[in-house]
Symmetry: C2
Subunit: 228 residues, 2 copies
């Protein structure tokens, strides 16, 4: 909300200044005191510079820099700054795996931290829907336990994987697409091609409560959406 | 993005029209130079007022509204909007409890989501230090497991507690203070008094790696701070 006020007022004032400049420019011809004019020109130049500077800052603010970025049609560039996005949930060892013969052994499970880009979070809070341009980032961390007197429980130790899902009905035939930025050698890559449909899409399509998003596991999203 | 362009351009045009109306209105007096001068003074005053207004709004935006808010000397008002702050970590059942006879039984453990106010996060990223005005919010969620074919692991179900720590060397004799917003009936209260020193402070003081903050459990903070 402060962003919007700032944006609107700054653009309004830019219009005002530009217009005033025109007016002052015309009045040059009505008053014939050259010293006055020189002084006024200096003032005008100052105001013009301020106005332009201002327009630049307003544009910087107006542009949400949290949209997914692509290389070509469907190659997703690795999101940056997502740790300052909106965190929507963390889970431990949570996954659908119908073919797993037995449950994961304790200690091998991973924490899943999930973030959403802020503009899509705000849209979801307003409408209960995920807009085109929604990007969810899944960052996986190893779970650790310390052998320290009196310390119980597990915590996140090292980040081990980075994945993302994007909703874009104009870009993807199936609306949502899924990506992994993990190289086989354990490093993180800069861009990723979407997974084939059967890898993530099918499960999200079948099991997720709200438009491919597992809101059943994210109390933050359930509380954020407007009540029906 | 198209919305923003539309909004900006429409507000810009509104400013332009309003300004033009003023100009037209004034043109009735163009013959009298004195009126012109008066008009110019009026314009300058207008620009000055708008400039100050702008400065005010810009300051509002620049000033993160994420500082801890107090009632009196040390009663902390419940933080709002913290779910859009910077998430720094989640753990499961993590706590120091030297007197616990045995480990918590699985299922009774809680997830601990921890957030930091964005301005302090940025300061920490720059300097590696937590400034006065740092506030960390700890939100506890119950852990759940679903009996669903193929689903493994646990996830966050319901939020059950809300706590906070604040650093303020001018307000608190011991620099850091700790608060809980939980009523005994399970509701959340609007303000909280600091805990006595032995409740949280001592343990944080003794065990936390970085100035009362358990960075040993928060890989996000370890990665955010500048490398030495």
């Amino acid at each position: 909300m402060p962003h919007q006020i700032y944006r609107c007022s700054s653009v309004f004032i830019c219009g005002f200044i530009l217009c005033s400049l025109r007016r002052l420019g015309q009045s040059r011809f009505t008053i014939a005191i050259s010293a006055k004019i020189a002084g006024r020109q200096f003032l005008l130049a100052g105001i013009l510079i301020m106005g332009l500077l201002w327009l630049f800052v307003a544009c910087m603010v107006a542009q949400e820099v949290d949209a997914p970025r692509f290389d070509g049609k469907d190659t997703l560039l690795r999101p940056v700054g997502y740790r300052e996005w909106v965190f929507i949930g963390s889970s431990l060892g949570l996954r659908y795996d119908p073919e797993a013969a037995e449950k994961s052994r304790p200690g091998s499970e991973r924490y899943h931290n999930v973030y959403i880009n802020p503009s899509s979070y705000r849209e979801f809070s307003r409408t209960g829907r995920f807009p085109d341009g929604t990007i969810l980032v899944l960052e996986l961390a190893s779970a650790a336990q310390k052998n320290e007197p009196g310390l119980q429980g597990s915590y996140q130790d090292k980040f081990v994987a980075l994945e993302a899902s994007v909703k874009d009905s104009r870009r993807f035939e199936d609306v949502w697409a899924y990506f992994s930025f993990d190289e086989k050698d354990g490093t993180v890559k800069d861009k990723a091609q979407p997974f084939p449909k059967k890898a993530c899409w099918s499960c999200h399509n079948q099991k997720a409560e709200t438009d491919h998003v597992f809101t059943q596991f994210y109390p933050i999203l359930r509380q954020a959406r407007p009540s029906k």
